[in-house]
Symmetry: C2
Subunit: 327 residues, 2 copies
């Protein structure tokens, strides 16, 4: 069982075959960055075509049970998520509709201020907004996971506090290892784990110590230190793999249509494109290397199984269904 809690590839048969070759049981795929509801539906239509075209390789997935089915059938389970709340527009009724369409994760903000919460690139973070409080409650009700990967500190702490169900940071690393606006403080990681939430470790170079030069040993040591902080049941993968994407895509991810200047995000004018992947994680076929690295750093087989997939599976089990009212 291997689960990756975030990928945004330029999807193709080749990548689906690599998922299978790497033993990836399930992957949370991003279907919206800046898209509104209608544009998100268009991305779902594209995925529906892929599910039709490659039924031996991938399947649409909205529950832990379906992830287990995928494992039995040797297919990769595809779970939809949004990196921004733009598909909700300003309509709380779209939370349930997006769940009906298979979406299971929504980030409350992506880098900038949203209608719900603050992104990690804003200079000020006032926390969860009036609409945000309403939307978190609705996400809790229908079984939509609150994802705070790109959100700012106070908004993230408030989301953990306000949400009646555990939340996720699907793709980020601890700031104690590599200081970056996208990485998370010890306080966030502790409160996340204490509330039953999950962290997915990112393998995106801007989130790694020494970026593209990061070593596998260094990465696995960070995982071990994070396990000490959060508990080994609260961590998994969230690679943030953006395979086969042209640089125009990262420019769009950063700039959308919100600015007339150019925002370089985690990059810079000199390095505006996607950074090079570390040598130990080019694509999904490299996951076995990481599992080996985790064993070598001292994790037990049971712990490696948890980090590689069972922790996320347990979280999916608790999170993707409607909230059960207390008896």
């Amino acid at each position: 069982m291997l689960i990756d809690a975030l990928q945004y590839n330029n999807w193709s048969e080749n990548i689906f075959k690599q998922l299978q070759a790497g033993g990836v049981t399930a992957v949370h795929v991003t279907i919206a960055y800046h898209e509104d509801f209608r544009e998100t539906v268009e991305n779902i239509i594209r995925w529906n075509r892929r599910f039709e075209q490659f039924p031996e390789l991938i399947q649409p997935t909205g529950s832990a049970e379906e992830v287990r089915n995928a494992e039995r059938e040797n297919r990769t389970a595809i779970i939809f998520g949004c990196q921004n709340c733009s598909p909700l527009e300003d309509d709380i009724g779209l939370v349930e509709v997006l769940h009906q369409l298979g979406i299971r994760f929504i980030q409350l903000s992506y880098n900038n201020q949203s209608l719900l919460a603050t992104g990690c690139y804003e200079s000020e973070d006032p926390g969860i907004t009036r609409m945000g409080r309403q939307v978190i409650r609705e996400m809790n009700r229908v079984g939509m996971v609150v994802d705070m990967s790109h959100s700012a500190e106070r908004s993230t702490l408030e989301a953990i506090e306000l949400s009646e169900r555990p939340i996720a940071i699907t793709h980020a690393n601890p700031s104690f290892w590599h200081s970056a606006l996208r990485n998370k403080s010890n306080e966030v990681l502790l409160k996340l784990s204490q509330s039953g939430g999950m962290l997915g470790f990112s393998m995106y170079p801007h989130h790694l110590k020494d970026k593209s030069e990061c070593t596998l040993e260094g990465f696995c040591e960070m995982v071990a230190r994070t396990a000490e902080l959060m508990g080994v049941e609260r961590i998994g993968f969230g690679s943030d793999l953006c395979q086969d994407q042209p640089d125009s895509v990262v420019e769009w991810m950063r700039n959308g249509t919100w600015t007339r200047e150019t925002d370089y995000g985690e990059g810079s004018a000199g390095q505006a494109g996607f950074p090079n992947q570390p040598e130990w994680f080019h694509d999904n076929r490299d996951f076995p290397k990481i599992l080996k690295g985790l064993r070598e750093i001292g994790f037990s087989e049971t712990e490696v199984e948890g980090i590689s997939g069972k922790n996320w599976l347990r979280f999916f089990e608790q999170s993707f269904g409607p909230k059960i009212p207390l008896a």
Copy 2:
């Protein structure tokens, strides 16, 4: 010359005739509260039909020159504005497009947090967002007025500071007279006037001292005190008249689609609907009473002419065209 910088009526031939009877030369009408771009265009289509149907009474207007034409032709000039930035969606390119469609005012936020700024009902106000800074610059470029009537204090002060052109608070009153989340502090009013901006006095009961029981004398005294604070050239009318609207409209204004609870805004569960207008301002035919009240409180004829229309006309002249680059 009489200009009202905010009305949101249930428009009809009857109201257009009342505008004429009251001597109203120009009125800034709201064409969006929660609407997205496409829905705003639909509201423009409705106005296009009205312009076709009542060419003797009203005309579409996007410049001070056209306001003067309207006065000569004895028609009321209709100027479009949005009470929220929702018609911009997340696309800065829509600023210019909305200007091309005749919109001349956009509020950066309406009660809640927006992508650009904070509304006056949020508990925290972090000021203008990253996108907000970009959009203000673009509004300055094309000649779209920044309106902060429903925005929170810090966001308003920052908008005044960041905008290279004077901004407007089209419909609100001073807090020193009646404390309300929608009314404005002395600091805001001072900085607004010092930067060449304009305040339109609201006649909406929730913004009035003693609400529906407010007297005309009390209102005119408040105008006089505000003139002392801001200067008599920086003030005008912005009545916020919502004539002939059913209570379902104020419920929609407050709740849109952002909440599953009921937000009562300035009202309460016990008084959820539109409040009763003060007895001296039921509709546009009552403007002469207010002008009389201003004379009686001691304003000179020139001052009354300024407050009643010439101040707004001068502001329109400076604001509605593209920014002239410095030589």
